[in-house]
Amino acid sequence: MMSTTRSPVLSLDGTSVPDRDLVGGKAWSLAQMLSLGLRVPPAVVIPVPECRHYLEAERSLDEEVQSAIRSGIKDLERRTGRRFGDPSHPMLVSVRSGAAVSMPGMMDTILNLGMTDAIEESLATSSGDPAYARDTRARFCHAFGEIVLKADLDPYVTGPTPTEICERVQEDTGRSIPADPYEQLFDAICAVFDSWQSTRAKSYRRHWGIPDDGGTAVTVQAMVFGNLDDRSGTGVLFTRNPLSGAPEPYGEWLPGGQGEDVVGGTHAVVGLAQMREHLPEAVSELLDWADTLEKEHAEVQDIEFTVESGTLYLLQTRAAKRSPEAAVRIAVDLFDEGLIDHDEGLARVTPEQVRSVLMPRLDPAVAAAASVLAAGEPACPGVATGVGVLDPDEAVSRSAAGENVVLVRPTTSPDDVHGMIAAKAVVTDLGGATSHAAVVTRALGRPSVVGVGKGTAASLVGRHLTVDGRSGRVYDTILDLVEARVEDDPILGRIAAWAAGSSPLNVVDHPVEGVEVADLDLLLTDLSARETPIDVDQITAALEGFSSARGAILATEQGVRAAHDTGITVVADCPLLVQLTALRTLGTPGA
């Protein structure tokens, strides 16, 4: 087959933003930051067509691509003033996969590639911290062994020496971690290409109808050294507060740290204010750039950055994760700032977020005056009240009789799940925030407190309890909860007005007088057994002969579809929840 001129390696220099399908999402995002005039560590990309060349050539990198990669590394050396594999002034690189659409099964990032015995020694000398140098190298060996050589290793913990890790890798795979930096690089690039054909990636593509003949690009980027000196470090910056949504940047800074340290949460971090005292120019540049990125994406950004000897580099930017309260506030603020319109604002708020903002809460004054019977780890947020019951069967029968029940257990096993479903809240003696009980209660949305201490559950039996899954406290007696309402919340009120204007369904909070309303909670009870989710046809059938309906199912995807197909009016205590679900499922009318 004749091919057009081959360019096995592209340099990302900010002069243009290459096609996302050609270089993958990762490199595309770097190129975009560069084109905005922001500084990122120098990078080159091996584009997607090279993946096909490699797979067609029976998984080998031909001479042409190998020599292009060597030139690419020379390019990075020129731009960093460092040299790959040279202990006196070492350049280390990261290697990442990057398909146009990211998918499971693609190779994870390898950091600090190019690390050798001699470089570990020179890092130990230059940093004055041999333990740190050894740990960095051990991390590299672990990642290379696990990700490139597919060794079965326990998750990384500081401790084992690089030699021990290499031996373990050799034992498990029969392969060793190359001492030569270029060999490391070529192996890592091959591993990225191979990962396109991993079982997981293939099944993902089968599910989503993505063609198998695409491929992935490989981004090779110079590492910046956040651990170089006392004017170096790494951090993350949120352009707004991710918990409250307040339009103030929120940052975490780890002086002397490398990127993975913040992510791994292994070191103590400090706030932005302390960073500013130390590195005022870097901080003001960072805030400037953060503003540029937020405006460019019209979305709150979560930005990873590193400072090397006072010079700021951006590593990555993406939409920030946020609390439900923050999501709602930010949607309204971005609208007010003219960055998004109504429809986009509605698309940014999920029904789950609204449900969470509206969850009943404990009045802090009431909680402070109440007596605490037990305290443990908060496992699922929310507050609920009921009588303490030990036996799951009893929980089921009493709840069926209309009582509010709190299931209190020493531990929980799968045969307690029916009791957890029946209960309003769950308390356990043992276990932590990552126990089976915690996972099940979160999946059910039942407030829960775990690990209250051996024997405590038994002492709660028969008592009236208030369980606060946010603070991890169990209070004596049934306390009054504060009900949140859309009308009382000015921000939710704005969103409710947008939703009412765009809703594809007719939703009201009170039925028209004299109209008979179908109650789907009652009509569909027989269908709510395990393994069979209720489908649109069943709901449509239940709606026959009615012009209005109410019921929890109408705030689900199937429910809004059935309501739309039948043209009924939905009666709901909180129309906003149904409208948001309808907008997500059916789209905006006329759009």
């Binding site: 499971p104 997981r200 099944s203 993902y204 599910h207 918990l243 789950e352 096993s413 276990g431 099940v440």
Partner: protein, 201 residues
């Protein structure tokens, strides 16, 4: 008495209550055979049943505890199985942490419920679940060399993961379906019962 007479009650006990179909899925056995075995267990007084749903009776719990000694006694001293179980507990810890990452997410220095509005975040966890599944295949595979029946759980985990890859995200940790966590929880319980180990959480 057949092996299935014992296994049907054991399988039912893992779920506490269920119909023959759900116990058959859990055991990887034929539904009609399980149904017949459960009927015999009702006659023996080990199981209570009504309208096709069965539940282990108190007498059945005591009977199981006694049977475990004789049926699983040899396995409880099997070094290879115990070793596989130890590895399983390690993977279990990581699985529960991963489930927690799926259900909650960081917002600054706090953790909040994951409302699944951030596809990139979810995609990373789905990928990590795949990597964990590969570890589970090795560990549970080793146990299944000794107790072949355990392979069924692995097949069910595979099916749950496949659903997740196809976009049915409830199959990560949903409770009322055979999600990855539901199946894992049952596999864990099965192993604990075989080896007479105490649950730590």
């Amino acid at each position: 008495m057949t092996d299935l007479d014992f296994l049907a009650v054991h399988g039912l006990a893992i779920r506490k209550a269920g119909n023959p179909a759900s116990v058959a899925v859990l055991l990887g056995a034929d539904e009609a055979d399980v149904s017949a075995a459960l009927d015999r267990a009702v006659t023996a007084g080990h199981v209570a049943g009504a309208n096709g749903t069965f539940m282990v009776a108190p007498a059945g719990q005591a009977w199981l505890t006694e049977k475990y000694q004789t049926v699983f006694g040899g396995l409880r001293a099997d070094g290879d199985l115990l070793h596989a179980y130890e590895r399983f507990e390690k993977v279990n810890g990581d699985l529960l942490a991963l489930m927690t990452d799926w259900q909650t997410m960081p917002a600054g220095d706090a953790r909040v419920s994951n409302d699944h509005s951030n596809p990139d975040y979810d995609a990373k966890i789905i990928d990590a679940l795949g990597a964990l599944h590969e570890r589970a295949e090795r560990v549970v595979g080793r146990a299944a060399e000794i107790v072949p029946r355990l392979q069924t759980h692995l097949d069910r985990l595979e099916a749950a993961y496949d659903q997740v890859l196809g976009g049915a995200h409830d199959y990560v940790s949903g409770v009322r379906i055979d999600s990855y966590h539901t199946v894992w929880y049952e596999l864990h319980e099965d192993l604990l019962r075989i080896l007479e180990k105490k649950r730590q959480e």
